[in-house]
Subunit: 184 residues, 4 copies
């Protein structure tokens, strides 16, 4: 019997019509039967302030921590804001990183991103790789998923219509399952 | 009559006892008479969500935008979280960047940071430099202010006691005044 | 009478058919009458070894140093090798940086790059920006010239045929002339 | 019977009295009996030029390629030049990367560095991490070995005298042996 791979995924954008959240949902649909991807929301994670959250963490953060801890791999699907990681995503990671449960330690991580421009969030992804290394997780090297000109690749209903991108996401998911086994 | 230099400064930490906020206050005290530094708070800046803030920005953001627009230079004094810019600071910058007033355009920027470890926020500073370049502001190259082992450099009352660091901050402020004139 | 702007340009590739050297030559052709661009070769710069070159520098290096010192602005046109600056270009910069004449100090710098892929040397450019900052030169923020799918933009004779790229290079050169005046 | 771990190490400096080469030699001495570290020289690697080396590679490069291919892990011990990787080291990596044998693919990599200043080559190390990721090798996250104020940590004969640094290097080597098993 085949192993089930439980992955969790976080979108770096809070807006409803986000192309990155659409990309995350596309990955859920494209995943082979042995990979299940849970979408973890970060909208409820408050701004981190060490004065307020030394002992007790907000429930939204604890849920994130426990889900990441239980997962075989974590996927970040994020836009790029101002040549780097969106503040809202970085804030969620900062908060998670304070948990004594160290949920990201030795975890396999995959990064995807979509942008309206040509670079497909490349700058944000390399900053995020440095951040993830700090938490002693490992980001899979290849394939990189940098979706450029994203508005041409989804239809009005939010479905991914670009076959090349769909194939890339499938390869990404299968590679992440293999990579997470190596680290596990 | 000497020119007055109106600078604004933002701390990347929200906690009350922050060494970076102490460093910001030390800079205010150490500034020569022709440099005035206003401390701009970011604690009230909400998490950025394009669905909520397309037309009207929160008052806390508008105040930041207008103060930066009016300033000759902007100083960021920030801790490093997870090898990069704190999410709370990046979120504030992301929000400011959405303003049609483009307050950071062609602005002179200085970066300082203090950390308990050896690197003095170096990693966060180089990420921040990339972000500031995106907004078409220019970060002064030298001197770099990376305060390591910060807890040994302030007394219990929060006063900077390390003379070498004090001298560095004075040089930083005078250099920033010169640099801002070049760009202006 | 109009000011003449004397710029120098360095290609990060040594091979004869290099698209980046072609881009450099295209910039020479596209430059307005008040901008002259000298192409500085780096093929003769040996591998840097502090044991061999403490006092006397190779003539090829001294020529680079003096030409850069005399220029109003320096343009780097470079490929990306392995997600970063080509070793040959970095080696030339390392060598130049050892000169007591400090030719890059407070110099205006512009960066262009061309690649067969989608990112147009973005990763190399952000590393190069960090390096240039170390030497206390300032890299112009905008426009960024990242030429992707470069083989489709030149003809067999090595002439730039893509009008959009040509326009971008013209804007880049005019902006660099203005930027160099600010710093000067 | 215990496994033997065959590691190779490359110094990023060519000069004889290099503190980074001394650090490499210290690692050879400090290695436990089950770890053997071969020092691979890069002084003979010529400047990369695609016109000259398309089919046949210089022997110095082929020796590097084969030794890396045979090793369980690769250690880079490098100074920082101008806030980044030395050109001579980057050039050697660029050359190696052109080999169809892809010697670094899925290889475990460790990075160490020593500098006279406070940052201990941090900036060069993060650039090098990005480069290594391009070649589909994985850099061990922890421990990071960033040796600051290096001249105070070796004696005149080139022996490492700082016990804390010696302990860190021992931990680094043992961790790299474990990490290379995971990837292998």
């Amino acid at each position: 019997m085949e192993d089930k791979n439980y992955f969790v995924a976080i979108s770096g954008s809070l807006r409803k019509g986000s192309f990155n959240t659409m990309t995350l949902k596309a990955a859920q649909s494209l995943a082979p039967p042995n990979i299940i991807i849970d979408h973890l929301p970060i909208a409820e994670v408050p701004l981190y302030n060490q004065d307020l959250y030394t002992e007790v963490f907000p429930e939204a953060v604890e849920r994130l921590v426990d889900a990441i801890k239980a997962a075989k791999a974590v996927i970040f699907v994020s836009p790029e804001y101002n040549f780097s990681i969106p503040g809202v995503l970085k804030n969620a990671i900062d908060f998670i990183s304070r948990s004594p449960k160290k949920p990201l330690n030795m975890k396999a991580v995959g990064i995807m991103g979509a942008s309206p421009g040509a670079l497909g969030t490349a700058r944000a992804q390399y900053h995020l790789r440095q951040v993830i290394g700090c938490l002693n997780a490992y980001v899979m090297n290849k394939p990189e998923v940098m979706i450029s000109q994203v508005s041409t690749k989804f239809d009005q209903a939010g479905n991914l219509t670009d076959e090349k991108t769909a194939g890339l996401i499938r390869t990404f998911l299968e590679s992440l399952a293999i990579f997470s086994k190596k680290l596990g």
